[in-house]
């Protein structure tokens, strides 16, 4: 009798759950399936070569995603580097220093930034942030330090890895800080008491507490990285959409997502472009999947170890 009742609930809810799992697997399969022609034609070179020769003559077509993959990783790394100090500082500020009434205000602001439509970040990035960065940061740096490789590309338009990285950093900060703030808040009060009772300054005490939540910070940044590799519209409006493979911050580039956004529309004209774009999508899929799984795993493991 008990088994019969249980079945009713599972009968109603399981299909939805199974559907979602199947959907996910279907998505992965679609990318795999559609990318196969590219693998057959070019092999794994499709990921490692930087070239994009679209042509009316199919046999002349040759594509490589290296630039896009590089751009994705590079811009996201810049984003994470920017987001790290800010989200840590933000969390410390909100938990330790913000007056009680304002705490919630800061959290709401952070949540708003997390939920703000990315196209708004995009338009602001394209019309406001890029000119600003170009004028006040990129050009001065280029003028004076162009002998250093990362500053060596002339910032003619401002659309670059750097701009994309900064914009991404701004966009993923609220996300990372939510994770870090939660972890920081969860530090058992006894640790704080102990640190202060030892006569440590705020700075020293905070350093210790940060050490305590280091795994959470790491997971937070990994998950933020996972977020930022998937970002499309905002990045595509500020990165310049060029096939470069450069370490220079001010060079324009591509990310996988902005490449897809840009090229998919006319991919139908050419015979062999489409599978390559799917191959890019597949790479993005897998990068995102692995990064997020690692981040989730580390975070959960830390949470389990910390909760008594």
């Amino acid at each position: 009798m008990k088994i019969k009742r249980l079945d009713m609930f599972q009968i109603i809810t399981s299909p939805a759950v199974i559907f979602v799992f199947l959907l996910f697997i279907l998505m992965l399969s679609v990318y795999l399936y559609n990318a196969l022609p590219a693998f057959f034609r070019e092999g794994l070179d499709v990921y490692f070569k930087n070239t994009w020769q679209a042509s009316e003559i199919p046999s002349k077509e040759y594509y490589g995603l290296a630039a896009a993959i590089w751009g994705t990783l590079y811009s996201s790394i810049i984003g994470v580097l920017i987001a790290l100090p800010i989200s840590v500082a933000y969390s410390i500020f909100v938990v330790d220093y913000a007056p009680k009434k304002l705490k919630n205000v800061f959290i709401i602001i952070s949540d708003m930034m997390a939920g703000l439509p990315t196209i708004i970040y995009g338009i602001w990035g394209a019309f406001i942030l890029v000119p600003f960065l170009q004028k006040y940061i990129m050009i001065p740096l280029y003028k004076n330090l162009s002998f250093i490789p990362i500053f060596s590309y002339p910032p003619t338009t401002g659309y670059s890895y750097f701009s994309a990285g900064v914009l991404l950093g701004i966009m993923i900060t609220p996300f990372a800080s939510a994770i870090i703030r939660e972890a920081y808040q969860m530090v058992p009060f006894t640790y704080r008491e102990a640190a202060i009772s030892l006569g440590l300054t705020r700075y020293e005490a905070t350093k210790i507490l940060l050490g305590y939540i280091k795994p959470a910070i790491v997971s937070g940044m990994i998950l933020a990285f996972g977020r930022s590799v998937g970002e499309t519209v905002a990045v595509s409006l500020v990165i310049g959409n060029s096939f470069n493979l450069s370490v220079s911050l001010f060079a324009p580039g591509y990310t996988i997502s902005s490449l897809i956004a840009n090229q998919f529309g006319n991919a139908y004209i050419y015979r062999h472009m489409l599978p390559v774009l799917y191959a890019g999508g597949l790479a993005l899929f897998i990068i995102g999947l692995i990064v997020n799984l690692i981040g989730i795993y580390l975070l959960r493991r830390w949470q389990k170890n910390v909760r008594i």
Partner: protein, 277 residues
């Protein structure tokens, strides 16, 4: 004693740095909102209500607004039932292997690149249908909406005190009745919040619409099987155009989008304790 002074000095520097970084962190939001208002208001003030009702060549974004609402409505229809069921399942079986795998899958889908969802739906729906359509866009948005609502539903139900569970079962009711007729209604506030937050999010999404809805700005939509426009998509198109006039339209549309977002987001957020996007 000078050692102490150095430590104290470091402390002060620390606090200053923290404060500066924090304000650097929130500055963009204010700057963005301010910029959108400053650039958007002149356009709207100039054209007045016609900005909201006219078609694009007449200087309005009416079809885009309608398109956005159609998409929100359709994607809710498609995505909410699945989301609720998945969320309820995750609530009821938190420990089982499938339950935990479900939670992990939801977390992954929460952060899944939305462009990939769009291309997927394009290949599954738009291409077989041989046309862009509202329904394709709605499916893409539904896939993105689903994990948000599922996670919020699960969290809202997790907050229910165990004693209410006991009381419900104590009335001699089956699990189905206890959950769907008592516990879900009991958490309807939290669930509703999740739904609204999810909708606010998908209303602002662009990438999933790129290859699914096609865009429709010169006339109002008449069929969900045909292309439709959306505000974020319109902005994206306008920003990339070389024309200054188009850029101004983009700012105006951004202001409208921002207002829609704020109007949904702020009231909910003020009512709720903690929100994780």
């Amino acid at each position: 004693m000078s050692g102490y002074k150095i430590r104290k000095g470091k402390d002060i520097v620390f606090i200053i740095v923290i404060t500066i970084l924090t304000f650097l962190g929130i500055l963009p939001l204010f700057h963005i909102i301010a910029t959108v208002f400053i650039n958007g208001i002149p356009i709207i003030a100039n054209k007045g209500i016609s900005f909201l009702t006219n078609t694009l060549s007449n200087g309005g974004i009416g079809p885009a607004i309608v398109g956005t609402f159609i998409l929100i409505f359709l994607s809710s229809l498609i995505g909410l039932p699945v989301a609720l069921l998945v969320g309820i399942y995750a609530y009821e079986y938190p420990e089982s292997k499938i339950g935990r795998a479900t939670k992990t899958l939801l977390q992954i889908m929460l952060e899944f690149p939305t462009i990939l969802v769009g291309v997927f739906v394009m290949s599954m729906i738009a291409i077989p249908m041989e046309t862009y359509s509202a329904i394709a866009g709605a499916f893409a948005l539904a896939i993105i909406l689903m994990p948000y609502v599922a996670v919020y539903t699960q969290e809202a139900m997790r907050e229910i005190l165990f004693t209410y569970r006991e009381a419900s079962f104590g009335l001699g009711l089956s699990r189905v009745k206890v959950i769907f007729r008592i516990l879900v209604p009991l958490s309807k506030r939290g669930i509703l919040t999740g739904v609204l937050i999810g909708l606010a999010k998908v209303a602002g999404e662009t990438a999933p619409l790129l290859f699914t809805v096609g865009g429709l700005y010169e006339s109002y939509p008449t069929s969900i099987m045909k292309p439709v426009g959306a505000i974020p998509l319109l902005i994206y198109t306008l920003v990339q155009s070389p024309s200054k006039a188009d850029h101004m339209m983009a700012w105006g549309a951004s202001l409208i989008l921002l207002l829609i977002f704020l109007l949904i987001f702020i009231p909910i957020r003020l009512k709720l304790k903690e929100v994780r996007l």
